[in-house]
Amino acid sequence: MSALLKVDDVTVSFDGFRALDHLTLTLEAGELRCLVGPNGAGKTTLQDVITGKTRPTSGKVHFDGRDITRLPEHVIVGLGVGRKFQRPTVFPGHTVFENLELSLHGSKAVTRNLFARLTAEERQAIDGTLDLIGLSDLRAKAAGLLSHGQKQWLEIGMLLVQQPKLLLVDEPVAGMTQAEIERTAEILASLAGKHTVVVVEHDMDFVRSIARTVTVLHEGRVLAEGPMKDVQADPQVIEVYLGA
């Protein structure tokens, strides 16, 4: 048993409305999991709970053997949970390079960062990531001026330099061209094994191209879980999607 993440019977209610309803989910280390479901199924809320942005009404979240249910966001990040938001979120006034610098794995204390200098290794890590996400030539450009797809990649790059054990990626290919989508699939697939990755995505071609296991959420509950083929054939899943 090497469960990296255990979401145990978690309920989140917003004024009585249950965005997550007694949801239980287990992730093994090194897994690449796709999370699908219609709008409002609770996919983003689940990531909010795991990262400490939203506190569950009941239930527990364990990461790497630790109870992280009530920890603040930055502590959870420090334990090794990285996140890419649904809307691409980068620091618009900073350059691409600085965006990556701020995301680097390492000490996040004020006193350290007042005197921090980039080490050769850190610089290498940033350069390598810039190559990987194809933004090397734009390193000095302000991130706010990037195109939508470039921002998506920058945000994925920011996740990579953070070296998290668990990556939560919300809709990474929204707004990307077909070529960009394929490249993103490659990057994410190459991460599995070393990292544990959870991808939320609406683009089914994309999900099919990377997924090994798919979890379908519906109205805050797990509707189906398993290999893509089985899930797609599940009558309940078809019903929910056609009914939506």
Binding site: V36, P38, N39, G40, T44, D48, T51, K53, P72, E73, H74, V77, G78, G82, R83, F85, Q86, R87, T89, V90, F91, P92, G93, H94, E98, E101, L102, S103, K108, A109, V110, N113, L114, F115, A116, A142, G144, L145, H148, M158, Q162, E171, V173, A174, G175, M176, H202, D203, M204, D205, V216, Q232, V237, I238, Y241, L242, A244
Partner: protein, 413 residues
């Protein structure tokens, strides 16, 4: 622009702000005192005594403005109680100056005059230690620092931000003003502390003492600027600006934003206390009216006029707005508040980057953001990660074509 000029400008770019402050500081700490004390009065270059004090006073305001820019321009925290921190520093120094009057007060008592007047028999405990200059100087930094830290700790931890934070800071300075107005509080009530005689044994009336104080204010501005420049140039400074733009994301990069805010906030308050301590010996009085809510609003206006997020712009704004104020309140006393209000509205609407942007020296971040702040494009932190107000179209697991189309739709939402 010729290539040589362009190259010169590129090289100068990052140093221009520092250059402006350096020139200012040389003028305030060297040129003005020398032209006052050394150049004979008959010379056209002579600087009159009253002018030395005006310059020294404005320089103290410039320090406050630089401190304000650190929290507002860089960390995005709009403080409307910086005049309180300034006044607290001023009071600490004022207490020393009161104690150093000795028995030369009106009542020839060992106690400050206002205490004799109130019929107090002994010094309240919180006046102990202020006989010593070093103690008062320390308190001028420590008291605003500690108050800012404690206040900031609770406010930032409860995630009070934006306009709510600004309103709470107004309440704080207002409450402090009411407290200081009371005679029983022990700081001279509405008259405050005044009638100072000497500092460290030097008579405050002497022009030479005034010239030295002015020079010190210039050095203080240099110090405050250097400190703030070092902070904003560090990685911690980049965290501050990142927090100003998209705070939730900074947390998800692993930073404890409460600590970063507290750091900038407390440092800024300490610098204000420092400025207040330099200010009071020059103007010879400190009273609770300095804590008026409107004083703090004025500080924000100086910074807005000069240009946020440049440090040097804040100093320039403080000098220009206060210069204008000195002139207008003498020439057209009734007009000042209207002018100030108009200035603020015009700057906010027409030139959000202030004077610095007008002269092409706005901060990089500002240039980007102003281009960014076109209608429909938001960089507002509040939207990050929250459920989208306009949800992307429904998706079908079965129909692949529709799903890729909706992915494009989601991007636009």
């Amino acid at each position: 622009m010729t290539p040589a000029l362009a190259r010169l400008r590129a090289w100068l770019g990052p140093h221009l702000n520092t250059g402006i402050i350096a020139i200012l500081c040389v003028i305030v700490s060297i040129v003005v005192p020398i032209c006052n004390a050394v150049v004979p009065e008959s010379s056209a270059l002579h600087v009159p005594d009253f002018f030395v004090t005006v310059i020294g006073k404005l320089t103290c305001y410039a320090i406050v403005a630089v401190a304000m820019d650190l929290v507002w321009g860089y960390a995005g925290i709009l403080s409307l109680c910086h005049a309180l921190f300034f006044a607290l520093g001023g009071y600490a120094m004022g207490m020393y100056l009161m104690r150093s009057i000795g028995k030369q007060g009106m009542y020839a008592s060992d106690l400050p005059d206002f205490m004799v007047f109130l019929d107090w028999k002994e010094l309240p405990w919180y006046w102990y230690g202020f006989d010593h200059f070093w103690f008062a100087a320390l308190m001028a930094l420590l008291v605003p620092g500690v108050i800012a830290y404690v206040f900031g700790f609770f406010a930032f931890r409860s995630r009070i931000g934006g306009v709510y934070f600004s309103i709470v800071t107004q309440a704080l300075t207002f409450a402090a003003m009411l407290l200081f107005f009371r005679n029983a509080t022990g700081f001279g009530g509405n008259n405050g502390l005044t009638d100072f005689k000497r500092i460290l044994g030097y008579p405050l009336r002497e022009p030479s003492t005034r010239a030295v104080l002015c020079a010190l204010a210039g050095a203080g501005l240099a110090l405050a600027y250097a400190l703030c420049r070092a902070v904003v140039g560090s990685r911690a400074g980049r965290v501050l600006t990142a927090m100003r733009d998209v705070e939730p994301k900074v947390r998800f990069c692993g930073y404890d934003t409460v600590r970063y805010k507290l750091f900038a906030w407390t440092l800024s308050a300490v610098l204000c206390g420092f400025a207040g301590a330099l200010y009071v010996p020059q103007v010879g009085i400190i009273n609770p009216s300095e804590m008026q809510p409107s004083s703090s609003v004025e500080i924000a206006i100086w910074v807005a006029v000069g240009g946020r997020g440049t440090l040097a712009g804040a100093a320039i704004g403080a000098l220009l707005v206060n210069g204008l104020k000195s002139w207008l309140t003498a020439a057209f006393p009734a007009a000042w508040l209207y002018v100030l209000g108009t200035l603020f509205v015009v700057v906010t609407l027409a030139m959000p980057g202030g004077i610095m942007q007008l002269i092409g020296m706005g901060p990089r971040a500002w240039n980007v953001l102003s281009r960014f702040r076109t209608p429909g494009v938001k960089v507002d932190a509040s939207v990050v990660g929250s459920p989208s107000s306009a949800p992307p179209p429904a998706v079908t697991l079965v129909d692949d074509k529709a799903s890729s189309a909706s992915a494009g739709g989601a991007a636009g939402s």
